[in-house]
Amino acid sequence: MPLLSLERISSYYGDARALADISLEVGDGEIVAVIGSNGAGKTTMLRTISGLIHPRSGRICFQGEAVERMQAHHRIRLGIAHVPEGRRLFAQMTVRENLLMGAYGAPSWKERAALIDEVCALFPRLKERIGQLAGTLSGGERQMLATARALMARPRLLMLDEPSLGLAPKIVETILAIIRDVNRRGVAVLLVEQNAQLALKAAARAYLLEGGAVVKSGITAEFLADESVRQSYLGL
């Protein structure tokens, strides 16, 4: 049984269909990439999985449980953590407070403090900035904080929306290393990227979205070998 499965999901913004019969699977401990151009429905798909949007039809199963009707604030407790597009940090709150929010569902302050120590071991940079307002961080640090905030929830599945957006290539490498590191600790990753090269480098399997539908799926080697993918998405 896969960790996450989407079966024929359709989502709408008003009357406009943003996702058309999308089916997708993420296995335990896997890194899966979703690529596609702007407006292909990648962000809508993540928002549907995390519960910010409710699909009009289809099923979403997480660890065998149907979650498509569940509200967003319950899904995080099952282990679905979503790092949204643009990071969406709490800019007027400190790094520490942002991290605390990640562990909002934790049973005690003691536990939250322990989680902060754990996450700061992964991101020493954040420890240095712990008292600073999130709005004052650099782009790379913001992405680190957004990822760390999600890890505070001890997720089984980490969904990242455009983590490389606006970052210098060197910092993108760091982020990629972090994603791999997190994955080695047993967290499955669903990586949505416009930067297809990066996404295909990180993932084992991939899906290609066009106009709200899955037009291709398979192991990343197939994508890298596909002539039309190379032309349209990799610029080769």
Binding site: G51, A72, R77, H82, R88, Q92, M93, M101, G102, Y104
Partner: protein, 292 residues
């Protein structure tokens, strides 16, 4: 003599201003978290005034206990009104307008209910503490010092709640980014309900403390509502610190203005001051400048 008068007026201004601050911080909490204006805020104030009048002036219950009764009752009323009148509007389109009409309607209903039940007369509430504090010829009623103490204590308590509790953290997170707050487990709809109740309770506390000074009547909520909006805009929409500083500043400006004109001019002074401030800083004293 004049200097003593000026000092006494400044102290009075701080006292009244600290109540504006409490009242306005309720408005600003709602604006900051729910992004809506609550036109029924003044009626929470009015109802708490009546509750104190009934408990303390009529039934002779201890003033501190009367205040607690009023604050708790109005908190619960706030929760009920949010759940019945506002809650279901927030997730629908054009809620920015429907919530204005809904709270205006609530205000009219509560005001007329009070008028119908208790009549238009002004009801006097005795001071909680008698006597005057005298120092270097400056005379200040102990009631006013009590008001100042209560407002300082409640502002600090509120600050502590916002800064150091799980609820406060969730409230601020919801105010800054409600989507992100939901993603990390905050049930934003229950945060809205509690915020509304808390905001009503703040108006109630201000009313309980001011009732002996202003007297109680069905329309007593209107003037603080107008002042409250002035304070909220003065301080910067959604800024808690701005509401506190703005409230006290407005109180002082008004009471100093009274030295040079009559009390009827206090609203004119308040709004002139507001216009002057937002002329220079359209985003308010503590607001964040919006760039397009």
């Amino acid at each position: 003599m004049l200097i003593q008068l000026v000092i006494a007026q400044i102290v009075n201004g701080i006292v009244v201003g600290s109540m504006y601050a409490l009242f306005a911080s309720g408005l600003t909490l709602i604006w900051g978290t729910m992004k809506m204006l609550n036109f029924a805020h003044g009626e929470f104030f009015m109802l708490a005034g009546y509750l104190v009048y009934f408990c303390y002036a009529m039934l002779g219950i201890d003033p501190a206990l009367s205040t607690v009764i009023a604050v708790v009752a109005v908190f619960l009323l706030g929760v009920v009104i949010e759940r019945t009148v506002i809650h279901h509007l927030l997730s629908r389109p054009v809620w920015q307008f429907t919530t204005i009409i809904a709270t205006l309607g609530t205000s009219i209903i509560l005001q007329n209910l009070a008028l119908h039940l208790w009549g238009p007369e002004f009801q006097n509430v005795p001071y909680f503490v008698e006597g005057m504090f005298k120092l270097f010829g400056i005379r200040i009623a102990y009631q006013r010092l009590l008001i100042l103490g209560v407002s300082c204590a409640s502002i600090m308590a509120l600050w502590f709640i916002l800064k150091h509790t799980r609820f406060g953290l969730a409230l601020r997170a919801t105010a800054q980014d409600s989507d992100a707050a939901q993603l990390y487990g905050v049930n934003i709809l229950s945060i809205y309900t509690l915020t509304f109740g808390l905001s009503a309770a703040l108006a109630a506390l201000a009313a309980a403390m001011l009732a002996p000074i202003t007297a109680v009547n069905p329309y007593m909520g209107l003037s603080p509502l107008l002042k409250g909006f002035v304070v909220v805009i003065l301080g910067g929409l959604g800024s808690f610190g701005g509401a506190i500083v703005g409230g006290i500043l407005l109180g002082v400006v008004e009471s100093l203005g009274v030295l040079f004109s009559s009390t009827e001019w206090s609203d004119v002074i308040a709004f002139t001051f507001l216009v002057l401030v937002i002329w220079v800083r359209p985003w308010g004293l503590f607001g964040i400048e919006e760039r397009s």
